[in-house]
């Protein structure tokens, strides 16, 4: 993404401040569900996935002040993926070993967690959850900017896949206006998703 580096106050930079509650809120809202859903794709139950999510976020909160953004070392998102993946691995491993666990189970599960190599990069599921969450977050943030009609035109055509004419009839809009409405919402959504990504500093 071609973004002038000077103007970028990345989410990571803001998180490092430690006092920027808004940044932390944004972080939790954006990434919490990604971690949760990714954990679910790996077979964790609802409650376990939620616990794991809290655990991951807590780790990030503890580590953030020490994190340095270095594009060479990989992205923040990639790092978060590593943390999440290892925690899931530990969780599953601990579950597997529970019946015969002896010694220090914590150490064992951590031991088994071969840390993800950075060059591998996040896997496809993680990326997919991230993209989805980004879209959803963008939607949450921009939805109120539009007239209900405009939004409905977008939703019904783009998401639900109904023909513009049918949607227009129901909403008392010309099909052309429906087209324009849809395009306009999409343009805005993309812009917002872009902003989130840039802010996060992981491009």
């Amino acid at each position: 993404m071609a973004e002038p580096p000077l103007t970028r106050v990345t989410l990571l930079t803001r998180l490092k401040d430690g006092r920027d509650t808004e940044a932390w809120r944004e972080f939790v809202q954006l990434y919490g569900p990604v971690v949760y859903r990714f954990a679910r794709t790996r077979g964790l139950q609802d409650a376990d996935a939620a616990d794991l999510m809290q655990d991951v976020l807590r780790s990030v909160a503890r580590t953030a002040p020490r994190l340095e953004y270095d594009p060479k070392k990989g992205t923040f998102r990639g790092w978060l993926y590593t943390v999440t993946r290892n925690k899931i691995y530990n969780f599953l491993n601990a579950q597997r070993n529970r019946p015969r666990a002896t010694g220090d189970p914590d150490a064992q599960e951590r031991l088994d967690a071969a840390p993800a190599r950075d060059e591998d990069g996040p896997d496809a599921d993680w990326e997919k959850e991230y993209q989805r969450r980004l879209s959803a977050r963008a939607m949450e943030l921009v939805k109120d900017e539009f007239q209900p009609n405009t939004w409905a035109a977008f939703w019904q055509t783009a998401v639900e896949g109904k023909p513009a004419a049918e949607v227009g009839a129901a909403l008392k809009m010309t099909p052309g206006a429906v087209y324009v409405a849809k395009s306009r919402v999409i343009a805005r959504l993309r812009e917002e998703a872009q902003r989130l990504m840039v802010e996060e500093g992981t491009d």
């Binding site: 509650t21 919490g32 010694g103 150490a107 031991l111 993209q131 324009v180 306009r184």
Partner: protein, 797 residues
């Protein structure tokens, strides 16, 4: 709706773009809309302009299709996570938090932990019903609080018919002779200073019954500034100035007596209600602008001089500055030398917090505080709060100068400035002026040198200057090495000495332990529990176990068959790993009553020695898991070493002694504790490292007193004392086939000594203190781990 069928031509691109941005206005958009409706080309263009939305739409469709069930705990968990992070990450750093993160459970914490009831077992029963007990000549009526040093009791002195505060040293700390002496010495020094703005120290003695030293102090009727700020948020500017003047006056008196407080924080500032009958009558307030009488307070500083004793103890235990860094001067937080100007910086943070309700470098974690402390300049007070007068804002900025040379140079300057300005503000009557401030000064001084300024001979240590000079001297001896790592922001010294062959990045905090797994594999144990293994010949990381242990990895060792590894971390169990499977060996469990500090395998046979922080030392027949107690140490066991033949064990501890144990005397069939066969007690203060020479005839040790000592391992004779480091020496290691001993010091030096001559044959200075040093099996590979988080490797020839 007008039908303008004439818009058959495709609109220009910019019209379409405007359409995307603007609100769909009927009159303008409709013709276009009509066209777009029938023009696939324009539809496509619109899609292109808005960006292909199919992925977005797919995402949204997927999400709407599989939204988490309404009874999912996700929403609640998100809320809790958000709350937890924003409240804990944002709130003020709890006092002592840093000490906790710095890893030592038995290090004194400067905060109070309410869940942890104070240990009052040293009290004798009282005859007065309702009282807690008796202590020395005092009836104990209650507990005032707990501090880093011990507990503060509310006592009643029958002979003088007055209530007093009695500070009793923590029984654990009392075991440390060095510390205990310092506690008493500093308290006596504080007792020698009497000033209206200092809590009076009446008496310092040892309790006959318990043997614990204690301090009897004035019981102040009021609240701490900490409590006050919690209650009211912040103070009005005039009160801030009033507070500043009085704290500075107290500091001035103590500084003149040669005492530095080093722990000025709201909890140590007591606001005495002036209504106290013991206090002189409140000053007559001539004008209505004076602070309301009912809210008038006299400031009293407490814990003077004690901070130094506590701080030394913390430093030597953890190698890390303990306590909350919120109020620390940058040089203090960096662990550097501190003079009285550090107290002035702390005064600045205090006033800043009093004026705004928030410490200037407040941040989520101690590390974040340190970062802000070194990198950020606070927003001037007058901009945060327009009611704060310019002079006060400027004065606080000057107190908060990063460089001590840019601050006020004495507390007296601060008193005089504040007294003068308060007078101008009309909030000061002559009776309010601290006792020894010459009233003429604040009327006439006005920024010039005050006329009653007395230059008292106090020792200002030129911290920065001294450090730079040190670097220059070292630079003459050693070629300067370009920095291989980021120096600490406050470290003003360059690294110097032979360039390391490799710098292995630990990156997770200070490195505390090292072990050579083979000729080329080196493991390092790091403060946060990470263990990392490198090929030190190539510098490649072979494996990293992130936080595989709880807390700092204090010690680790490899069994003589190379199959197992042990780790002593901040928990009560030695972690025992199988190096083949790289898993903990669950069959074995070696537990201790207190958290671990040291562990070592015997080079021959099946012995494992383990030591904890509370004097328990054990040798295990580890295959059969039979422990044998080795009794005699008091306090933490810092280091363990087996003789090369595996027949003897040397142990070093906080009690200042090195003990040698004859393992053949162990009768494994009878559980009779083994007593030391030899003691070496010449070290002053804790001994941190001990090791045998390769031929087993000598023992090398190092410790708190900055020395490396060489002993005859057979008869305990002290053969050589080397003044090795300026500060703690954390580790020693034999190399060069027994000709050399390497030492690692908190003064950031690693040195190699010729054992015969006691001369330094090699040296290196890093940016941060070194905690551990080890020669490899070849006797020439030298590895050292430091607080910077790196392991440096050299070939010493």
């Amino acid at each position: 709706m007008p039908t303008i069928a004439t818009t058959t031509e495709c609109p220009p691109l910019d019209a379409l773009m405007r359409l995307l941005k603007a609100k769909c206005d009927e009159s303008q958009a409709s013709p276009l809309c009509g066209h777009i409706e029938n023009c696939p080309a324009c539809q496509e263009k619109l899609d292109q302009l808005s960006g292909d939305g199919t992925d977005l739409a797919t995402d949204l469709r997927a999400l709407s299709g599989e939204a988490p069930a309404t009874n999912s705990v996700l929403r609640g968990a998100l809320k809790r996570a958000e709350h937890e992070i924003t409240s804990t990450a944002i709130g003020p750093v709890p006092a002592g938090a840093l000490a906790v993160t710095a890893a030592v459970p038995d290090a004194p914490l400067s905060g109070t932990d309410e869940s942890d009831a104070p240990d009052l077992s040293f009290l004798l029963p009282s005859k007065v019903p309702g009282n807690l007990g008796r202590f020395g000549p005092f009836e104990v009526r209650g507990v005032v609080g707990r501090g880093g040093m011990g507990v503060v009791l509310r006592g009643y002195d029958e002979s003088l018919n007055r209530e007093v505060a009695i500070k009793v040293i923590d029984p654990q700390l009392a075991n440390n002779k060095q510390y205990r002496e310092r506690f008493v010495r500093e308290a006596r020094a504080a007792a020698a200073v009497a000033h209206a703005n200092l809590v009076a120290v009446y008496q310092v003695s040892d309790d006959a019954a318990s043997g614990l030293p204690y301090i009897v102090m004035q019981l102040v009727n009021g609240e701490s500034l900490d409590q006050r700020l919690k209650r009211t948020g912040k103070l009005i500017p005039k009160k801030v100035a009033w507070l500043g003047m009085q704290v500075a006056a107290g500091l001035d008196a103590a500084h003149k007596a040669g005492l530095t407080h080093r722990d000025i924080k709201p909890g140590n500032i007591l606001l005495e209600r002036v209504a106290d009958p013991d206090a002189p009558a409140p000053a007559p307030t001539g004008s209505g602008t004076a602070p309301a009488a009912h809210d008038k307070f006299r400031v009293k500083l407490t814990d003077f001089g004690l901070a130094k004793a506590a701080d030394d103890s913390r430093l030597t235990r953890t190698g890390f500055v303990a306590g909350s860094p919120l109020y620390m001067a940058p040089e203090q937080a960096a662990g550097g030398a501190v003079d009285q100007r550090a107290d002035l910086f702390s005064l600045g943070t205090l006033l800043y917090e009093a004026a705004t309700g928030r410490a200037p470098f407040d941040a989520g974690t101690p590390l974040a505080v340190l970062r802000r402390l070194s990198d950020e300049t606070q927003m001037p007070l007058s901009r945060v709060n327009p009611d704060v007068p310019k002079w006060l804002s400027d004065a606080v900025d000057k107190l908060l100068a990063k460089n001590a040379d840019d601050r006020f140079q004495s507390a007296r300057e601060v008193v005089e400035l504040f007294a003068g300005k308060l007078h101008e503000m009309g909030g000061l009557s002559p009776l309010d002026v601290p006792p020894d401030v010459c009233p003429a000064a604040y009327l006439k001084a006005r920024g010039r040198k005050p006329i009653c300024w007395r230059n008292v001979g106090r020792c200002v240590m030129p911290w920065a200057g001294g450090a730079v000079l040190g670097a220059v001297l070292i630079g003459l001896l050693w070629a300067l090495v370009p920095g291989g790592e980021t120096p600490h922001p406050n470290a003003q010294v360059a690294e110097a000495g032979p360039e390391p062959r490799h710098i292995l990045k630990g990156e997770n905090g200070a490195v505390w332990s090292l072990a050579f797994l083979s000729d080329d594999r080196l493991a390092a144990g790091i403060e946060d529990g990470t263990v990392r293994i490198w090929n030190h010949r190539t510098g490649a990381v072979l494996r990293t176990f992130e936080r595989s242990h709880e807390g700092n990895v204090w010690a680790m060792d490899v069994s003589n068959d190379g199959k197992y590894m042990v780790f002593a971390c901040d928990n009560t169990k030695v972690t025992f790993w199988n190096l083949q499977s790289l898993r903990p060996e669950g069959r074995f469990e070696f537990t201790h009553p207190a958290s671990m500090r040291a562990a070592a395998f015997s080079p021959v046979g099946r012995f494992l020695a383990t030591g904890d922080r509370a004097s328990t030392l054990r040798v295990w027949d580890w295959e059969n898991q039979i422990p044998m107690e080795l009794t005699g140490h008091r306090g933490a066991i810092h280091s363990l070493a087996f003789s090369p033949d595996g027949k003897r064990l040397a142990s070093a501890g906080s009690d200042g002694s090195i003990k040698e144990w004859e393992l053949r005397l162990i009768d494994w069939n009878r559980f009779e504790p083994l007593k030391a066969s030899m003691e070496m007690t010449d070290h002053r203060g804790p001994v941190y490292g001990v090791t045998f020479s390769p031929d087993g005839t000598k023992v090398a040790s190092a410790g708190w007193d900055g020395t490396v000592r060489i002993w005859d391992a057979m008869n305990g004779t002290l053969l050589k004392t080397i003044a090795a480091h300026d500060g703690d020496v954390w580790a020693v290691s034999y190399g060069g086939g027994g000709r050399w001993v390497a030492s690692a010091g908190s003064d950031a030096h690693v040195k190699v000594w010729d054992v015969e001559t006691g001369k330094e044959v090699w040296g290196y200075r890093g940016p941060r203190g070194f905690h551990v040093v080890k020669f490899g099996p070849d006797g020439t590979t030298l590895a050292a781990g430091s607080r910077s988080g790196n392991v440096k490797v050299w070939d010493v020839k």
